[in-house]
Symmetry: C2
Subunit: 233 residues, 2 copies
């Protein structure tokens, strides 16, 4: 059972992890059930809020994250994907706690940007307040030759943060306009592509018309990284 | 961690289990991540084909099903939902192997039919050749006052079976017309509602215009049963 079974640490939020499983399936070349990738999804939406922990002294999510990692390891998984960008603020502690490789969502996003024809240069990064405050994208992408623009504090407060909350409350279509507006502003300030660096954001963006510039969907990016791993990459 | 964590034995097929997780999330009243239902999805698409096992002496799926049940039990789940109708042909053996309650998809479909305003009478049942041969619906629904019509062998061979295979091969939109035609024929023969009694079928049916008669989506039906269980029902 072990070997190439993928572990997915999800529930952050649960709609994003369900969408990750859907995209993992649809992006896998398959003619029948048995061609698809075996996976275990640990969807625990009770993990304390990651942004609140970083920015407002909220409850530490690490113990709950480690419970999920341990559960996936016990299940016999061979690697772990985490379809939540903000949780990657605890990446080093999670990776230190397991011998299984954890596929880093920012590395997956970089590969997706290259696939989209944007291998370096000025890009926009949307994400939770926690992801931006921890500089998760800047830390890993600056060295690759990217220059990351982020929304202003005012744009975060009026557009991005409320829209992410709406997706988590199942109000997906209602999140589109605010997210599209924040992305358009980043493109207007010179971003050649915009990273949807919170897995709730692609759900909202998919609910309306396509944007007229490249967007890097971090759900798809992580699904492609997982498929490459399962295929032996 | 135990208690109200839902176990989902999936992967049969994987797109249907991803959709089950999505519908479970969207049908749950929730304002934030922490209001959603904790769940573990065991998505093992390597389970041997259930219809082939029943109809053509194919490999027995029971050992793989029991591995999944065991994995969900180890993970601390409190009940199990199986978003695959045909796998319910092994329901008694699975239930005998675990102390956890398994939510039966046919009982969930009966509750959904009542919700749709069809508490008895002539209904159509679409499903895999295995589900129909095992009379999974007739066995449980005849006693509740339903009279189950099923597609003819010719309709199964030309419409339903190839369409289910297309969904499993990610050709979802291409499955719509054959499935809609099979459903229309059952309605034309007097079915007051049609049960989409294979979890690939609602995926195909959702890819085109709505049908002009009630359809019972067994993914939604099972999701509602799981939510009722999680809420203490």
């Amino acid at each position: 059972m072990a070997g190439r079974m993928l572990g997915v640490l999800g529930g952050m939020g649960p709609l994003a992890s369900a969408e990750f499983m859907r995209r993992l399936t649809l992006l896998t070349p398959a003619a029948r059930d048995q061609d698809h990738i075996p996976a275990v999804l640990w969807s625990d939406p009770r993990v304390p809020d990651r942004s609140a922990a970083r920015l407002a002294g909220g409850e530490d999510p690490l113990p709950a994250l480690l419970r999920g990692i341990h559960g996936l390891q016990q299940a016999g998984c061979g690697a772990i994907a985490i379809p939540c960008n903000t949780a990657h603020g605890w990446f080093d502690a999670m990776q230190a706690a397991t011998p299984l490789p954890i596929l880093h969502i920012v590395d997956a996003a970089a590969a997706e940007l290259a696939r989209l024809g944007v291998p370096q240069g000025r890009i926009g990064v949307m994400g939770t307040a926690g992801t931006l405050a921890m500089r998760l994208y800047q830390q890993r992408l600056d060295a690759r030759g990217y220059d990351c623009l982020v929304p202003t504090e005012q744009e975060m407060a009026s557009l991005v943060t409320p829209a992410i909350a709406r997706v988590k409350a199942n109000e997906v279509a209602e999140a589109y306009e605010a997210l599209a507006e924040a992305a358009r502003r980043l493109a207007g300030r010179g971003a050649r592509a915009v990273v949807l660096g919170c897995t709730e954001i692609p759900l909202g963006i998919a609910a309306g018309p396509a944007l007229p510039f490249p967007v890097c969907d971090t759900i798809d990016a992580l699904a492609r990284a997982a498929i490459a791993w399962a295929r032996g990459g």
